[in-house]
Symmetry: C2
Subunit: 357 residues, 2 copies
């Protein structure tokens, strides 16, 4: 029984525009440290899973970039989605590939563009998750102890007492979608709620059985693709079947509907890096709260995130702004509204300014 | 007795950084309309003075650019200052050239980078100024009726009653340097104070006599250069003498010390375009006070000046900012502090970031 990793790299990272672009979305950017987020994801998992067992699921337009950034991964492990169809089809596709290689294979699935600090704790947590996923033949997820009443994440409520310690393991009572601020506050107070990290561990055949149970159209599509794996018909069949699959998340389609899910408590630093505001949260600040990356001049500025990989940013007498320069695009945004950057992307489309996306 | 124009184009325009750069300062930029400020200055004066009588005084590093922008002006009319030495040496140099061409020549001197609206009123005003400069053999200046208590300009106080009407002509009582806000307010209330536009009219030999009287070292230098005009020694003599001339403004060195100066009241729209704040003042605004030049997307923004000749600027939820993108430089500045942009230029030098200047 082998272990596999599935790195989901189909995201568009629109809230990191203009640094994140259609041609090079967030997961391929070096936002923190000196490797891209997907490279860091790869580096981080390598001590547990060998490169030949690591799969990348992504869009065709990013295949060349991904192969360039991750040359150690065998070419056949890059699974191309003909179109983006949310996480359930993505995971289902990876699962049929893994089941082909090892009918009892156990897979770790996670997004390519999250930030994790504390690799040792992360590895311990995953070891525990693998252990329980195999032992119980069940779905396992990682829950992060919340450190603030975040409204941008989904939550997991645990049930009863821990089944194991160091890291703790709990049965899941329920998954909760992104709460309003009041509920988020209650969740943090209650102590039995965790952030849904989007990291999952299960045997390939177990998740495929759950898909069959809860999303039968998706299971039917996967059953059509499965026999073509490794054959010359694969691309054609995939291209016919995949676009017609239901676009649904694994959280909504499977997790919220399945009983007997286990949650391992993740005690490593984690951030989904969902927006510039998230980068602002983790970046190093000076005594006036300025977080600066790139060439900068200025004075009398407070609490701004300044981000430019090239060129110069100058600021004078401004507060609470996110200022980003990326190529030919400049973005200046109230720091409290970084979640809305996606809306600027929408406006660009509306104004036929796609060349800036 | 011929008329000549001297367009002073030696300014650095630092307060318009980053659009204004060392290699292409403000006067060569198309900030308003579709011709550069110096081209607009040229166009505006052409109905009164033929191209062959228009001189441009400028630094060597901008000679090629100026010739390219003003191809109608004869090459010998571009007077190169070996180094910048403020307005008195600049005007003195032009005056000896003009006196050589016409001992009784009358010259109009003005900065290349100001904004003037209302060409007809401007022309009437200048006609009146030429008339009095010739008739009285005196120094004539143009005063602008102030429309706000501006602290960024020098003022002219008029004396007694008008000598002429349509436009009015007054004797000057005194020149006053940039006032503090309280005095500026008093000036505007008083009704007898005008903005010093930096536009002057006089016979070449008259200003040279005043220079001899008030700045004798400058006069001595000009006397050394004068005989070489038109000869092969000119450049060499200029290069030796000019850098040793006193760096002094015509306002401080001559105007504030001379009796019997006349002021013609300028009733045309005038702005020295001294900073981004000035451009903000004159730019067209939408219903939320946004003034936008270039590709832009954004919402919930108020009272910002957005300026980018290329690329895209995006803004979300910001107020009272000047946002400029020029080439590889982005500047974001509190609108009230646009006068301080020069300080950012100084910081660039201090940090050895001259490539952005």
């Amino acid at each position: 029984m082998n272990r596999y990793a599935v790195i989901m790299a189909g995201g568009r990272g629109e809230r990191f525009w203009p640094e994140s672009r259609t041609a090079k979305p967030k997961q391929f950017l070096t936002l923190v440290g000196d490797r891209s987020l997907i490279q860091q994801s790869y580096d981080r998992i390598l001590p547990l899973i060998p490169a030949e067992n690591i799969f990348i699921v992504l869009g065709k337009q990013h295949l060349a970039l991904a192969k360039e950034q991750l040359p150690e991964i065998p070419p056949e492990n890059f699974l191309v989605e003909p179109v983006g169809r949310n996480t359930a089809p993505c995971i289902g596709l990876a699962a049929i590939h893994i089941r082909r290689r090892d009918p009892e294979g156990v897979m770790l699935v996670f997004p390519s563009d999250h930030m994790i600090m504390g690799a040792t704790d992360y590895h311990q947590c995953l070891e525990k998750a693998f252990h329980w996923a195999v032992k119980e033949n069940c779905l396992v997820t990682i829950g992060i102890k919340p450190s603030r009443p975040e409204t941008g994440y989904g939550y997991i409520e645990r049930e009863g007492d821990g089944l194991d310690t160091g890291p703790s393991v709990f049965p899941v009572r329920r998954f909760v979608e992104k709460p309003d601020p009041e509920r988020a506050w209650e969740f943090v107070q209650a102590g039995c709620f965790y952030w849904n990290s989007g990291i999952f561990i299960w045997k390939a055949h177990v998740i495929l059985e759950r898909i069959k149970e809860h999303i039968p159209e998706l299971a039917a599509g996967l059953d059509r693709i499965d026999p073509s794996i490794g054959s010359s018909q694969y691309d054609e069949v995939l291209g016919q079947v995949f676009p017609n699959m239901p676009s649904i998340s694994v959280d909504f389609g499977i997790m919220e509907k399945s009983p007997e899910i286990l949650m391992v408590q993740g005690d490593f630093g984690w951030d989904d890096l969902g927006s510039w505001g998230a980068l602002d949260r983790i970046a190093l600040r000076d005594e006036r709260g300025m977080k600066i990356q790139g060439d900068f001049v200025g004075y009398d500025n407070d609490d701004c995130l300044i981000y430019g990989q090239e060129g110069l940013i100058a600021a004078l007498g401004v507060q609470n702004l996110i200022i980003v320069r990326s190529g030919e695009v400049v973005m200046v945004c109230d720091k409290e509204r970084s979640q809305e950057v996606r809306e600027l992307v929408r406006l660009c489309k509306e104004k036929h300014l796609e060349q800036y996306l």
